[in-house]
């Protein structure tokens, strides 16, 4: 479930990156790389888990699925938070700089 949610996030962020003309300014590639990197890693993890569990891999308990889904949602939120931190540090519109500049405080 975590893999599925990460993949959905990767696809959505890639679509946003593709259709947004300000992709470079907004550093949208960070979001794409983040989710695609995690998706690939979880895919490998899932393949190893499948090799170990076989049929049980697809018949997990509802509790485990809900826990995994919750983890996936938290991962999605964390991914967006990391992107926001990168965006605020790079500050393409100079908003943060303006916020802390002397001129603005006066």
């Amino acid at each position: 479930m975590t893999l599925v949610i990460a993949l959905i996030c990767a696809v959505i962020s890639t679509l946003i990156w593709y259709f947004n003309p300000d992709r470079k300014k907004l550093k949208l590639s960070v979001l794409c790389f983040e989710f695609w990197g995690a998706s690939l890693m979880w895919l490998v993890d899932a393949v190893f888990e499948f090799a170990e569990l076989k049929e049980e891999f697809f018949t997990q308990s509802a509790d485990a699925v809900v826990n995994d889904a919750l983890l996936g949602l938290c991962v999605a939120v964390l991914g967006v938070v990391v992107y926001l931190i990168v965006l605020l540090i790079s500050d393409p519109n100079g908003v943060v700089k303006q916020l802390f500049s002397k001129k603005d405080n006066e």
Binding site: S29, F33, E34, F35, W36, L40, M41, V44, F48, L78
Partner: protein, 134 residues
Amino acid sequence: MACFVVPAVEAVAVTIAAAVMKKKHKKQTETANNAERSTEKESATPFYKKLGWLASLLWGGVILLAFEHLWHGEIVPWFPFLTAMSDPTAIREMLIEMATVGVTMSVVVTAAWAVVVAIGNRIAKRVATGANNK
């Protein structure tokens, strides 16, 4: 257990390599007075940028996977950070997982990046030959 450690080590190495290459590239472009040469280099995506993509892929995955391990209680914010380190049998298991799952993660991410770079290079070549033909 600690499979993300292997891609994390690769991410550090790739980030350092990209930074060194960026410095070298900047020095080269500064010293190159030949206008033709500099425009030729600027037209193609420099390799340090492509390495930066790999670093971003690896770091993104490592950060989100580290959170997953924190969620499952496999890593803790205090020394020795990995809960498996407290049990000798768990250490062996952890090392096996790092050698199998961790290494495969690094290989798959790097291979995916290599495919994207190869496709990008082909597209760039086609665009360049198309422009020359016109």
